[in-house]
């Protein structure tokens, strides 16, 4: 209501009737946002507690299972989020200076970073899908699969049997059907009886991401440690990074909304405060990832 607001000077933001001055009004906004962020800290905090308990209990297995995660992709995501955090801080900086074009460019780059983050996450989740590491009914973990690199390398020819065993041909006898191969050079390694599942086919829309992130691919590691604890670790991984991913999606929505409202000169955007609020939220998303990255991807032996 225009009669409820008054301007101290022409350039300054309006002070609403319940406030004494603009500083008090702005402090209220920031305080409200921080109240929300504190609830978020506790929300994620409870999950970090859960993580700490199981990591403490199963230190060795958590180390073994964490090798299934690709630290390079996680590192890329850390860098992307740090940079986007800087960009959103720059957007607030320009919003305060009322330089709208620069503000929108910074917000746009933040949005691109958010999409980049989700693409990397999609690639990671897709890999877990094809390696049977999503803790659902198709979950399968154990020493009988993984380690494709080991079979292919070392000058060995090998065939994996459905029961988890494998037949290898020593490096001296490479021409399988030829006269050089003798029976002695075939070795049979019996499996542990469980059926080794083949890698699952990824949905088509995920496959182009494989090409994009090919330079950061790591060879599939052999799976060591107890399958039960692996399932626990991966459940925590999907729970916590999934919840964080939901926050990134919400971030994408609010940043887009802020950009659209700013471009359309919506009456709700009277000053830099909406940008500051979105910025605080986005920094929080970055904060969570700062802890998730070392805790999930960089577990010490």
């Amino acid at each position: 209501m225009s009669d409820h607001t008054h301007h101290h000077d022409d350039e300054h933001d309006p002070v609403y009737f319940q406030y004494e001055q603009i500083d008090q009004q702005q402090e209220t906004y920031v305080l409200g946002m921080w109240s929300f962020l504190v609830t978020e800290v506790l929300f994620f905090g409870a999950l970090f507690m859960l993580y700490i308990i199981y990591r403490w209990k199963f230190q060795d297995d958590f180390y073994l299972v964490h090798e299934q995660l690709n630290w390079k992709l996680g590192g890329l995501n850390t860098a992307v989020l740090l940079f986007s955090s800087f960009m959103v801080a720059a957007a607030v900086h320009y919003a305060q200076k009322k330089r709208k074009t620069q503000q929108l460019i910074c917000l746009g780059i933040t949005l691109l970073c958010a999409f980049m983050f989700m693409m990397v996450k999609t690639k990671e989740y897709g890999d877990k899908w094809s390696h049977h590491l999503i803790p659902n009914k198709a979950f399968s973990y154990g020493e009988h699969h993984g380690g494709g690199g080991e079979l292919g390398g070392q000058g060995e020819h090998a065939a994996v049997l459905p029961n988890g065993g494998k037949i290898t041909l020593a490096s001296g006898a490479t021409n399988m059907g030829g006269e050089g191969a003798s029976h002695d050079e075939f070795q049979y390694h019996p499996g542990n009886g469980t059926i080794a599942p083949q890698p699952r086919e990824k949905p088509a829309f995920l496959k182009f991401l494989d090409g994009v992130f090919a330079p950061l691919d790591m060879p599939e590691k052999e799976q060591h440690g107890s399958p039960e604890h692996a399932r626990l670790f991966l459940s925590l991984y999907f729970l916590m990074t999934g919840l964080h991913g939901v926050h990134v999606l919400v971030g994408i929505i609010v940043i887009s909304a802020l950009m659209i409202l700013t471009i359309k000169k919506a009456p709700t955007i009277t000053d830099y405060i909406p940008t500051e609020m979105v910025g605080l939220y986005w920094h929080f998303v970055d904060l969570v990832w700062i802890f998730l990255y070392p805790l999930f991807y960089l577990i010490p032996k």
Binding site: Q21, D23, F86, V88, P300
Partner: protein, 137 residues
């Protein structure tokens, strides 16, 4: 209400761009440090003859110290807590103090090594080994 004095010098603080850029560089450096520490530090500590348990403890402390440093710089500079009022600082710090209070629940895990009663289902495939005997070991 209308007599409010407006103090221009006390108006919202614009964080200078060089500070923001410096903070980004610092955060990038810390990110590099945490990856380097995870990749190379265990081997270095191992060659100096420390027992594995201690190396693991040191690595955890290093990783979490760097993470808290990074979080601190994000909160102080990017989120502007360094430049805000004392009340906002109180809220921002309060959340993390409250989080630390949650560690009190570890007392439960430390003081209850056994579960005195059987569960509803006779054999729950649990990740935690269950001890349902009367006497804790």
């Amino acid at each position: 209400m209308a007599t409010a004095q407006h103090d221009h010098s006390h108006s919202h603080h614009i964080i200078p761009m060089p500070v923001l850029i410096g903070n980004l560089v610092l955060l990038g450096f810390l990110m590099g440090a945490t990856i380097w520490a995870a990749q190379s530090l265990p081997a270095m500590l191992h060659s100096s003859g420390l027992p594995d348990a201690q190396i693991s403890l040191i690595m955890n402390i290093v990783a979490l110290t760097i993470a808290f440093l990074k979080a601190g710089f994000v909160i102080a500079i990017f989120m502007g807590v360094k430049y805000t009022t004392k009340l906002v600082k109180l809220y921002a710090i309060g959340g993390f103090v409250w989080f630390c209070l949650m560690f009190i629940m570890f007392a439960d895990y430390a003081t209850r090594p056994m579960e005195p009663v059987h569960g509803w289902e006779p054999e729950i495939p649990s990740a935690l080994p269950r001890n349902t005997s009367e006497i804790p070991d």
